[in-house]
């Protein structure tokens, strides 16, 4: 069995003491930022990227991945105990989880979230390991036209899942693509939009954009809204273990959440957020058994399903990133950037050229999920204490880490100015209701997309119909159109708006 020998190779890499340590550091940091509101995984990963330059690429990616799925765990803890989603993907967990906590059943809720997440994480990792090779094989059939169409689908998919105005989100992607083009054009050697500034001819650093928009922008917007008193549920969490009935109720919900999350994670624009929304909606549709607690009043299924789904989605969203080099969401866009910094060109060739990295990362995810369950359930008290750290101590530290981190990237103050500029822009984006995540996707894909468009049209001698005459490319574009049409159907449009209202 190939799968097993591959996984064995992966575990060999992931189980070295150094990589175990980085997986642990990533998980702990991820949980930390998941617990702390006001700072998300995108800003954290951007802040920590410079610190990983010195590491071997595998260790760097293992740590960054740990932050991502660790944040899902941490986010659920605060959702249940404080009714405050630490991460957007745990918004749905608040509804029933907090009600359970108020009824003194915080323990079972946390256990359901933790165990469900762990199970989903295991399945997600297995799916990733099982399907990645065949997808990679498919990706090798892709020519430039197919890649271009795939990127269009990916970006439209991501936009459809963004909250708020579809038009604005598409415009943000285009803006990101344009910003990605700043710098020296690889084909002609022309420094585009550089205005004779030498630093700009290398392009805009994506760390600077991510830190500015997601770090500074969010700080400014958080400071602008007065700090509201949080009702922290510090009453002792007792009786962690769910009852037999709880297990009976949650098991099918976990299975459904895992299945749905795994599928949605792979889709462009998918990932943890969409998965948790969809699976909560599904659980609500499924008929309750007599005597079961209604949804919204502390039903354990309402905790187990979205938590399993968001973790499964977080794992499987690595599939398009690892096999095709196409990030389905902003966190994966940062991972692509991290790989590029370590001189690894993301795409189907990663699996054959860097098998240790590929399988090591996958194996480390399973280990990381195990660490999170072991770490989190006993340490819940510690995480809750962290919630009492006031934001006024937190944000100067975040400003500092961004500034130091970006400065040490190139040892140049230019990047510090850029973070400042993008911080102001990030605040403007928030004020004007412009979603920043699509911008980051566009920024990462800009140069790649141009290159594929150029090559596709070069081969076809300038004939644009090449995108429609090649069947795979046509299929991808058709899927894009269908996706757009689907969102514009009035009934779906209304549902989509409803779903994001709770955001």
């Amino acid at each position: 069995m190939d799968l097993f020998s591959n996984l064995a190779l992966g575990f060999g890499v992931a189980l070295t003491p150094l990589n175990l340590l980085y997986a642990l550091v990533g998980c702990v940091l991820g949980t930390l930022i998941g617990v702390l509101p006001g700072i998300g995984p995108v800003a954290t990963i951007a802040m920590l990227l410079p610190a990983t330059y010195a590491l071997p690429p595998v260790s760097a990616l293992i740590m960054l991945a740990g932050i991502y799925y660790g944040a899902q765990y941490g986010g659920s803890t605060t959702a249940i105990l404080v009714n405050l989603p630490g991460e957007s993907s745990s918004v749905m967990t608040c509804i029933d989880g907090y009600q359970m906590a108020r009824q003194g059943r915080a323990g079972p809720a946390l256990a359901a979230a933790g165990l469900g997440s762990f199970f989903a994480g295991c399945v997600g990792t297995l799916i990733l390991a099982a399907f990645a090779p065949s997808l990679t094989a498919l990706a090798f059939q892709f020519g430039p036209a197919e890649y271009f169409s795939l990127m269009v689908l990916g970006m439209i998919g991501a936009v459809v899942m963004a909250s708020g105005s579809l038009l604005k989100a598409i415009a943000m992607v285009v803006l990101g693509l344009l910003l990605g083009l700043v710098g020296t054009d690889v084909n002609s050697g022309v420094a585009r939009f550089a205005f004779d500034i030498p630093e700009l001819s290398d392009g805009i650093g994506f760390v600077a954009i991510a830190m500015g928009v997601f770090g500074y922008g969010e700080i400014i917007s958080n400071l602008a809204t007065p700090e509201h008193a949080r009702e922290v549920f510090t009453r002792k969490v007792h009786g962690l273990w769910p009852t037999k009935q709880d297990f009976k109720d949650m098991t099918p919900a976990v299975l459904r959440g895992t299945a749905l999350g795994s599928v949605l994670g792979v889709l462009p624009g998918g990932g943890a957020l969409l998965a948790s929304f969809a699976s909560y909606a599904l659980e609500k549709k499924i008929k309750s058994k007599p005597g079961e607690v209604p949804f919204g009043q502390g039903n354990i299924r309402g905790v187990a399903a979205p938590e399993s789904a968001n973790n499964a989605g977080a794992q499987t969203s690595f599939i398009p990133m690892l096999t095709l080099g196409i990030p389905p969401n902003a966190v994966m866009a940062l991972m692509v950037g991290a790989m590029t910094i370590h001189n690894i060109q993301p795409g189907p060739q990663v699996m054959s050229s860097n098998p240790e990295l590929f399988w090591g990362l996958i194996a480390s995810m399973w280990i990381g999920n195990l660490m999170l369950v072991v770490l989190n359930l006993p340490l819940i008290g510690v995480w809750i204490k962290l919630l009492s750290v006031p934001y006024r101590w937190l944000f100067p530290a975040i400003v500092l880490f961004c500034a130091i981190g970006v400065y040490t990237t190139n040892n140049s103050t230019w990047d510090i100015w850029m973070v400042g500029v993008f911080g102001v822009l990030g605040y403007v984006f928030i004020k004007l209701g412009m979603e920043p995540a699509p911008l980051l996707l566009g920024f990462i894909l800009g140069p790649v997309m141009e290159e594929n468009l150029r090559r596709a049209l070069l081969f076809s001698r300038g004939d644009w119909s090449v995108f429609l005459t090649r069947p795979l490319s046509a299929g991808l574009l058709l899927a894009t159109v269908l996706l757009l049409a689907l969102v514009l159907v009035p009934a779906v449009k209304r549902k989509r708006e409803e779903a994001f209202v709770e955001d």
Binding site: I219, I220, F395, V399, I416, S460, W464
Partner: protein, 162 residues
Amino acid sequence: MNLKNQKDFFSGLLFMAIGVSFAWSASRYTIGSAAKMGPGYFPLLLGALLTVLGGVLVYKALVFETEDGGRIGAWAWRPVGFVVLANLVFGVMIGGLSWVGIPPMGLVLAIFALTVLAAKAGSAFRWKEVLVLAGVLALGSYLTFIVLLKLQLAIWPAFASA
């Protein structure tokens, strides 16, 4: 003029402005043709697309009624000003500004300046608390970046250690 949606109107204008300036600068590079794309081809295309998208947003904001009028609300000048100022001062202090003769001040002083200025962005400012925080951050950064990650950063001003 009656704005039906403030946010959409101004974001549309912003998109249009950025789109036009990108398209205009792109048109100064070689455009080429579809079969032989020059460096200006793709950006010109995207710039035009962004301008159109911005235009549609502006049109919709003027024509279609929205419930709350998409109000932008007050701008938080204080946080914006102080966060950016903290960032700028940190940059100047750590890198120096050679053309006005400001020497690099080293990591520790830069961290104190950044922390104090950034803390001013918040609503509650207590000197004692902020100085303790700055001290903790300076020590933490020293341990992480200099001791652990071994980065080549000056800790104190050049003139003090010379």
